[in-house]
């Protein structure tokens, strides 16, 4: 109970602080739209890329939703670096604050933002002629995929933040993890168009689990069995990375 209450108040703190940054809100809304419009235009003439969807933008929308979610999660550890720099974390740790609540609140915050951005992208997609073939369940699956993907990478990102504890190292780590995972995934092109070895590797890429789930919901409107499996895999990843981040407090506390 205490854990949930603390997590709740920590989430309130983070969202409230974010809402006080108008520029951040503008970027949160505009950035995913730029991705969708830019990539949508860039690859729109390459017919082989749409992988069974009625348009490239329909194929791309679930990909961009997932890209956005996992980038957001990967960078979310910057909030932990800021809290460490401001010594807010030390203040919480010397009080009976649950370490798991500190992590869980950051992870859930990343998930909430990913869902808001997914909603914005879906609405823009509708305007651009995308149809969500999975219906109401499809919407839910897209939101779940975005949230879980952001949360899984947020856990990882916070574990790294507590381990490296420096902004420059954090940026390097996020890029090192983020860009390869993006290009080893079906965000921009279907697996059938990938070189064989990349297609094989991409099956183990958590980003891809989210992309396939979201694409099943939007483009295919089916394959619910495999979609459920992908979401379960993502949920396991969320648990694993959140525990890793909670455990990383030990490394941090050894260093001070």
């Amino acid at each position: 109970m205490q854990l949930l209450r603390q997590t709740g108040w920590m989430i309130v703190r983070q969202l409230r602080n974010l809402m006080r940054e108008p520029i951040w809100i503008a970027l949160m809304v505009i950035q995913p739209l730029i991705w969708l419009l830019l990539y949508g235009q860039l690859f729109s003439r390459v017919g082989a890329l749409r992988g069974g969807a009625s348009s490239y933008i329909e194929f791309l929308t679930p990909g961009i939703i997932c890209m956005n979610a996992f980038f957001g999660g990967s960078w979310s550890g910057m909030a932990m670096i800021a809290d460490l720099d401001r010594h807010v974390i030390d203040r919480f740790l010397a009080a009976p604050a649950s370490r798991f609540a500190l992590i869980l609140s950051q992870v859930v915050r990343a998930g909430i933002i990913a869902v808001i951005q997914a909603l914005i992208l879906l609405l823009l997609g509708l305007v651009l002629g995308v149809r969500i073939h999975g219906g109401a369940l499809g919407w839910l699956v897209v939101f779940a995929a975005a949230a879980l993907l952001a949360m899984a990478f947020a856990g990882l990102s916070h574990g790294i933040a507590l381990t490296v504890r420096r902004e420059a190292s954090m940026i390097a780590a996020a890029n090192f993890v983020g860009l390869p995972l993006m290009f080893l995934s079906a965000i921009l092109i279907p697996p059938t168009q990938m070189p064989h070895w990349i297609a094989q590797i991409s099956r183990f890429n958590p980003v891809n689990w989210g992309v396939h789930a979201a694409r099943n919901a939007i483009v295919n409107g089916g394959h619910w069995g495999s979609t459920g499996l992908y979401l379960l895999l993502l949920l396991a990843a969320v648990a694993a990375t959140s525990l890793f981040a909670t455990w990383s407090f030990r490394a941090y506390q050894r260093s001070i």
Partner: protein
């Protein structure tokens, strides 16, 4: 009963022995000063006692609970005001206090009343609903102290509470700490590298140097152990003969504890005004050029010098590096 008991605490970071067998105890309701230059190990001692970091060995009991075996029980009874402000800059003063109270399991009207009371107590009532980013250094510090007090702790740790404040704000904070010690009937452990701060606030002090406690007692007791006055002679150019100069001073009747530090020769004499002419003429007759002579009644600076053989300011500057 003792509010804090530290027994033979040891802690090292890579090749630095930050705590090298630290033992002391603080009585219930006492204001205790841990005094020492930068790098002496004071903050490490506080981080150990507040459960932020674990010692390599040793034992510590705070508010009746073992910091290693029951850290969460200790956390419920202590307030910790770290050396660096832990204020959340993007939140208002009130929001900072409310969240800290909630972490301690407080809620509803009692929490809101306590927060109002504290905002009043530290003089932040007017600024309560402004974002803390725009607070001055002194205001952030006072908010830190209020944050440390929100759950009515039994023991309050103040780690270098006035570092970085201008002299005026420092004196204002001293008044506040004195008032808190009475009003909230707290045990306070205060670390400082300002000797006058320990002199002013602490009922008892322990002096730390290089990870060890070198002496412990009331400021009065420590100063009383040093009889007489400290005379410091600065030589113009000792030309490597500084030890000769010290030998000359040592031969003068009544001069004790002669020591050298760079171009300085120090000694303790029963009466400075009487001894200075004798010291000067003795040095002059052997060809030493004296730049300046100062005399001082015992201060905690002298206590530090007396027990460590090192100058406080020099040690302090070295510790920052």
């Amino acid at each position: 009963m003792d509010a804090i008991v530290a027994e033979d605490l040891r802690k090292h970071y890579k090749d630095i022995q930050a705590l090298d067998g630290v033992s002391f105890s603080v009585r219930d309701g006492e204001v205790f000063g841990l005094l020492g230059p930068n790098g002496a190990g004071k903050s490490t001692a506080v981080r150990t006692l507040t459960t932020l970091t674990r010692p390599d060995s040793g034992r510590a009991i705070v508010a009746g609970e073992d910091v290693i075996r029951h850290p969460n029980r200790v956390r419920r009874s202590i307030g910790y005001v770290a050396q660096d402000s832990g204020v959340d800059w993007e939140a208002t003063g009130r929001e900072n206090l409310l969240l800290q109270g909630r972490i301690h399991g407080m809620a509803g009207a009692p929490l809101r009343a306590r927060v109002d009371e504290l905002l009043e107590l530290v003089g932040l009532r007017e600024a309560a609903d402004r974002i803390a980013r725009n607070y001055s250094g002194g205001m952030k510090r006072r908010l830190d102290i209020a944050i440390g007090l929100v759950h009515r702790p039994r023991v309050l740790f103040l780690d270098e509470p006035t570092t970085g404040l201008d002299p005026e704000a420092r004196v204002a904070l001293w008044d506040e700490v004195e008032r808190l010690a009475q009003q909230e009937s707290l045990t306070i452990l205060l670390t400082t590298h300002y000797l006058e701060e320990a002199d002013r606030l602490a009922e008892r002090v322990a002096i730390m140097s290089r990870g060890k406690i070198v002496v412990e007692g009331t400021p009065g007791e420590l100063k009383a152990n040093l009889r007489g006055e400290l005379v410091t002679v600065e030589l113009g150019d000792a030309n490597g003969r500084i030890e000769d100069a010290a030998e000359i001073v040592r031969s003068i009747a009544g001069a004790t504890e002669v020591g050298v530090d760079g171009r300085l020769v120090r000694t303790r004499v029963p009466n400075g005004a009487q001894a200075i002419p004798t010291i000067l003429s003795a040095l002059d007759s052997r060809g030493f050029q004296v730049e300046s002579v100062t005399t001082a009644r015992p201060s905690l600076d002298d206590v530090y010098l007396h027990y460590t053989g090192r100058d406080f300011a020099t040690e302090d500057a070295a510790g920052k590096g």
